[in-house]
């Protein structure tokens, strides 16, 4: 990266703008957490998904602009590709505790289906 003083002077406004944007999105996150999004569980899952989407967007702004990942040497991206592949792996590990191919999940699903039917009849 070859940042000359002239180029950096141009960036300064951008940094302030991104800072303001981050603050705006913080307020959006806080505000939206009080809004009941539609969904069978009272919108909890959708609220989480929305909140995480906003957080990811904010994190991208920080990484790309403040941490200069929008113009970085190739070797840094090489590091990060591996890092994020592993981290994403960790984030989806929980799938294993929901769908276990070694047992009959249909048993549990049929049980909750029965409960559901029971509620609608009563």
């Amino acid at each position: 990266m070859a940042d000359t003083p002239e180029q950096i002077a141009k960036h300064v406004k951008k940094y302030l703008f991104i800072g303001a944007l981050l603050i705006v999105f913080t307020f959006i996150t806080v505000g939206m957490s009080y809004v009941e999004l539609a969904g069978p569980d009272g919108g909890q899952t959708n609220n989480i998904l929305f909140g995480m989407a906003v957080a990811t967007f904010k994190a991208l702004l920080v990484a790309l602009i403040f941490m200069h990942l929008n113009h970085e040497r190739k070797i840094i991206y090489k590091f990060l590709v591996f890092t994020f592949a592993f981290v994403l792996g960790m984030f989806v590990l929980f799938i294993l505790c929901h769908d276990n191919p070694l047992v009959m999940d249909a048993f549990e699903r049929s049980k909750s289906a029965l409960e559901h039917a029971h509620y609608h009849h009563s």
């Binding site: 990266m1 909890q44 590091f79 990060l80 890092t83 929980f94």
Partner: protein, 448 residues
Amino acid sequence: MEIPYTVNARPDTGLWNAKVGVWLFLASEVMLFGGLFSSYIFLRLGADYNWPVGVLDAFWGCVNTLVLIASSVTIVMAWASLKMGKVMAYRIYLFITILCALGFMAIKTVEYKGKFEHFGVRLTDGTLLEGHFPKEGYRIEFEDVTKFTLELDGVYPESNPKDFLRDCTTPEAERKFLNAAGKEVILDEAGLNALRLEAKAQKKTSVELTSTKPLKFSIKRGAFGFIDPIYSYTAESIFFKDNTQTNGKLVKDSMTLEVDLADVRDCADAEKSLAWHYLGDEQKAKFIALRDEKLAAFKKSFGNKEDPYKSPHFKRHGLVLKVVGGAHAAAGHAKPEHGGAETDTTHAEHVASGHDHPSVVIEKKDITFWSNFTPKYNTYYAIYFALTSLHGLHVVAGALVLSYFLFFDGKLLRKDPEHMANRVEVGGLFWHFVDLVWIFLFPLLYLL
């Protein structure tokens, strides 16, 4: 020896070395926090209780988010200023960044203290009561304590058998101990050493003492930082942590709690919850009104299609009552048995201090578990403290590095500003990462 590639790019990487280094470090940091976020997902999906949502003060969480965002802007501005040769501006921006870090930690400290002082009590029917301890919290009282077995050569030789007397409420002048032979024993260092020698001669590890007058004990768990003197107790004996055992009669075994929240989500019959036994009919009426209002609102949005009792949102707002008012009335309600609450403050004082919460005395027989809001309380607080304290350590570490730049790197700044700018960039990258982690922590722990 000159360290190579501090300013100029190394031919093979195309970068100065520290930058490659800090990104490798940040990659490992991503894995560290990633592992903890993964734990959060597991704990939340696997929680067998109602995951606490919105229980932290979102205002202070939000303020801390703004503080970190501001510091992220100032640190990048500090770097940019240095690159442009504006040394004074660089120093000011760096100083503001450090102030932000201190502000963040100060707010965090206040938040943590609040958690340590806030208690939750799970009752036998699944009801959860939350609140603060007034002057005292849990109190155990024993009477007719006459027999003492002092362990003199036990598993913990360093424990001092004198410690058990710490919570004896009988005046010191009236405490007299006789040994098995009927000889008076004084429990000071010399007296204890004499007892030890005597026991050793008789090939015993413990000695039995009798007090001439029945003693009274009052053991309480009060404010934060109090170490329990007892290990365990039954209806007729106390086991102290110094290994002393006594007989006696348990006359009081209850907790005084200023209840600020009643959570009946896990209670099979919410209207018959023990919460109303303790808090009184007024709070019960408030609860029923709240629940029915939320039920009606739920029906209005979803009709009869959905079961409100499967909606975490409904349960959180309709089955959890913020308990306010009636500080005096409820204390009176629970008073008759076992002496009741000895509140030192009047109702008016409660209201004036902004803590108008009823003070109730909860009997041991109704309690399954109680704790302050520490990792012991539940897995939410466990992961909350694990994540935020690790993040806090990063804030402190970042502040130390930036303070070093500001206060001790003046020489490098004059000699080689370009090298200094690279240092600030590397410190800044770490600082942005700390902000980035918080961007996820704030919604996950405070809001969602």
